[in-house]
Symmetry: D2
Subunit: 366 residues, 4 copies
């Protein structure tokens, strides 16, 4: 392989051009061919970024001998077939979120990639932001203490997707953020509530709940029908807590040195008594890496292709996210009953490293 | 009865003195006796508001011949017994939220009050705020169109209650707001997720979901372990939407003239296609009645006692709220499985007046 | 002239490419040549927008027979000479803000343009935003009543300009906004306070005060050394008031239906007495035209060139702004003493149409 | 003197009762007599806080043998006469802001207090807040580096005062905050712009500028005619910068680790060139003392009376503030021309300790 990663991009809609721009502007990459169902769209984007070839036929991209990595930026339901063909043609793939719209498809892609020795990367853009990487670091270092919960809200008016519901469209952002912040982890249980309004046949508002063992909770509110734009993730820990508000123009991440300690009150008179003490210290907005997340992501993929290594948002991360989304979609459809998830060799149930011994003991003693 | 409503107050903790102040300062009311387990506390509050008698014995308040209305401002688990005794002594009662900690108790109070011809009022303070009354009015008038969902968040660090979990402590606020805004309505199904952290034995974070028929969703996030204080209720409708942010110093209620219209796309090529059109107009922050909610509430109770009538937050509203909370607490304890609610004569399942014919038809055809 | 306006652009730094993009994408315009001191920069921008020629020589742009309008997007101190040459070559000109760095130069450009029958437009971008146009409309229609003051703050950390101080760099935005909102008006008096910090020889923080007759005040705070980004203009009127906060992602403009009425208190006992009554109604965030301001501006210039007419931000507006800035810079240098401005035929002292008779009478009776 | 400080309070309007409450609830103080022009008002407040005597005659308070400190909480124009009488009767005095409405009066009070050996304290409440004390500490410790400017905004609709303009009413807050934060310092020059709108005869909007030596600027915007409530003070320094936003419910004070360094560019080609480098680090919201400012203030005065010592907001601070306000009022009346202030023995011109050698040198070399 040359020391230039040559990309072929399928899909020149809303998001595709951003990827094309980042590959085109990268010193060690180039875009050699772009594809879209609408030829004019492909040609216009090719013109903007100096791409030599434009086509309407995905097979031209997938089979091109001068393409090292195929970027799949098409509607979600088409991801699996296109990525499968690309992998089988020996190409690395970078797939927009959600990786696929079924666990079965995602598993097949992971397996195929392993067989063919190619990289599968998923465009979980947010895990490449300075804010989310800082959150991961704070959780991993133990600065937050035991993690109690992650609560994530992503609501706005529109943009309605043409082929998936809001769980599959906005859900991947929050589910992949939580997965990444907690260290790459499959919940033990998922449930969801959804509703389809305004005449649509697909859920446009949904609440997802993920449980990680007996007591740690992840919760996601995704909504295409909200009047105001809110994108906010809260992480509650025993030592510190985080509010990540992506709508702030600056100081997006606040670290609160706050907490509560509760001890049983042994006074026999107070049957229900607990001794609660509050702690409240400084709030810190750390300086964040403010590079465009997509450029960090694209750079990492290029690094992995040229030098080896696994992307942060690899096939396993994509698969874990799809497992959660599929379970959530099923729960939403089936009366919101919780769906149990089982670990398997592709998505092992990693214990939360940040859960202390004592917490685990308390939990299991329940 | 004289034209002055004479109140006796049991409980001089955090909230009690606010009620004492409002009754004491009202032209047509007076506080004749206050009671607290700690005599000094009762005496100090009595001194501040010129109340003649202070006692540690609730029975003294309940049996006092010069008391017209007993205010029960004690911990939640004691509400039922105190209110029952007061009603049986022929007193009107105003009970702090939650009315009781069991449906059985709440039903008994409603029945007893009817037998004794006295008023049961519940301190659902928020339904007396200018913002929530405006929300009700907008829903009732049809200005919002069909109601899609109500999403309510009430989170902060502490204050942990000594005898109930966060569902029973903060939940009554949001559940009663949603009940009132939707016109006094029992959900058909309730589920909840809860977790007890920081060494506590009681849930300190919870998510409640209420379904009203097939498609209208109410959702509540209550949390004692959040680093920042958020109190925000969103109402999504087909014509307009509301964001009520109680933490704003002014312009707490925003009415968004925004919406989405979705029509099936009959183009046979587009299997999943829907034609979506967005509408976005002005945002209005209407002038709100800014009287203290508690003074509006106290004034209404005094009016009802003197002139007859039923308080906005009457026993039936208290009971509906307790039914939701009890179901939520059960669901949270039992793996988050949804709990069905049945209408009965005390809490009939009022249809959402604001749901249009077409919506109902679509929903039932599913 | 063909029905396509052919632009030549001098300056491909920070702002130039935005103009190139807007001319290049306009149906009735094209960019035929771009110029920059750094050839690579000119070539790169030419490549991005399909411009045929790139040069380092401004004269090539100015003398090109296929150029209808010259866009001067160079550092401020070079505007006058370049624009003068272009006008004398019979070209229309669009000059970045500030139009020039001296009143003398601006006057010369206005006179020359008149002689040569060409259009001088100034890139007062903000007057083309939906928010500022709405403000103008509200003032003009009398909806605000009598105008009391306009207060404008534009502060942030950097970006320091290489050839002018903060008065000449950020000042044009606020001065041109106030000029436009008040209907194109020269203040009677200008004063300013400035300070040069952090080792710079040029003012990087300044306060400008403009007086319009005896009682109407405009005030501007511009600052390159502020830790947070604030861009906010307040207009106080007798009937309504406006807050325009450009940092808000939405609802940038709030119209407050608020006011105060003051009447002298004739009670002889109260020597200083005045009877004040407050009025507080709804707050409205009107839907704003959300087109990119620059595209509205470019479209207007193209319209004027093709069909005749005068741009909103014409040479006279540019000159008025330069007169205020020059006076402010002089006041800041000379101990902050107020500088009187005299009307002349190029910048007549238009009376504030929105000032009522009574206000004028009160003021002159002082 | 007993170990209980006995206070007599003149003025039971808006602010007086807050002082009465704080003295009445303090362990080492009591309120023995209250006075108001309206007897019922005095009696009602006396009743609320258990004060034995209520009167309409200030002389009764001033001459009462059991009064140690007289609190002057009357309209501004009456402060001087009442405080003078109290001092001459040998009482300590605590005077609401502004201390007096003329420099002459303030000087007389300071001199008299010295002669009579009593304490003069001024109710500059904000200098007792946790936020402002933290600001002072950060400036004093050198954490901010050289101070560039302090910008303070305090605007809202109303409340119009009955006997002074907005400079004398709101101005004392910001002027005393700046005075305190900069270490107790008299500006060398003051100018102001004012306007009287809405039919009032007194300025209801004003801008004050204070210069401290050649380059440090203080600026204040006070306004009774603004639609939104803003209370925000920015301190710009060479190492760090502060934004204190008093309208935030929490995190009122943000410390920005941000700055700019500018060096002359010696490249002879670049006549105007300067090399600018930006620095941007974390933002910290330190935990602040959240006690009620007034209780901190009252406690300090009681300590000074019982144990000796000088209050933070002593007569000298009050006098410095009045000197600035009087100069500002004069400038506003006289065409906004700057007024020079001379140091004298009562208000010496303390150099800004936080201004470095190099800054001073640069400044004087100008």
């Amino acid at each position: 392989m040359s020391r230039i990663v040559r990309a072929g991009v399928i899909g020149c809609g809303y998001w595709g051009p951003n990827l094309i721009r980042n590959f085109a502007h990268h010193d060690e990459a180039s875009v050699v061919v772009v594809c879209d169902a609408v030829l004019e769209r492909a040609q216009r984007v090719a013109g903007m970024y100096g791409v030599a070839r434009a086509t309407t036929d995905p097979a031209e991209v997938i089979s091109a001998p001068d393409v090292d990595v195929v970027i799949v930026a098409t509607p979600a339901r088409t991801h699996a077939a296109l990525a499968k063909a690309a992998i089988e043609a020996g190409k690395h793939v970078l797939i927009m979120k959600p990786m696929t719209t079924s666990v079965e498809d995602a598993e097949e892609l992971v397996d195929l990639a392993e067989q063919h020795g190619v990289i599968v990367a998923v465009d979980h853009t947010f895990v490449y932001t300075g804010a989310v990487r800082m959150m991961r670091q704070l959780v991993e270092s133990g600065a937050l203490g035991e993690i109690f919960y992650v609560d994530s809200v992503r609501i706005n008016l529109g943009v309605f997707q043409s082929d998936v519901n809001v769980i599959w469209d906005l859900g991947p952002h929050d589910v992949s953020i939580i997965d990444y912040v907690l260290g790459g982890i499959l919940p033990t249980q998922v449930s969801a509530v959804g509703a389809a309004h305004a005449g649509s046949r697909r859920e446009n508002i949904a609440y997802l709940t993920m449980r990680y063992g007996p007591n740690v909770v992840g919760h996601v509110h995704v909504n295409w029908l909200a009047p105001a734009k809110i994108r906010r993730t809260i992480v509650g820990g025993s030592k510190q807590m985080i509010v990540y508000d992506d709508m702030q123009p600056s100081e997006k991440l606040l670290i609160y040195d706050k907490g509560v300690t509760i001890a049983p009150d042994d006074d026999p008179e107070k049957v229900y008594g607990e001794l609660v003490s509050y702690r409240s210290g400084d709030v810190l907005a750390p300086r964040l890496d403010d590079r465009e997340a997509l450029s960090v992501e694209v750079d990492e993929i290029i690094r992995c292709i040229l030098d080896g290594g696994t992307p942060t948002a690899d096939g396993a991360a994509g698969l874990r996210t799809v497992r959660v989304l599929e379970a959530a979609a099923r729960s939403a459809r089936d009366g919101s009953h919780p769906v149990e998830l089982d670990a398997d060799h592709r998505t092992p149930m990693t214990p939360l490293r940040i859960v202390s011994e004592s917490e685990t003991r308390t939990a299991s003693a329940k």
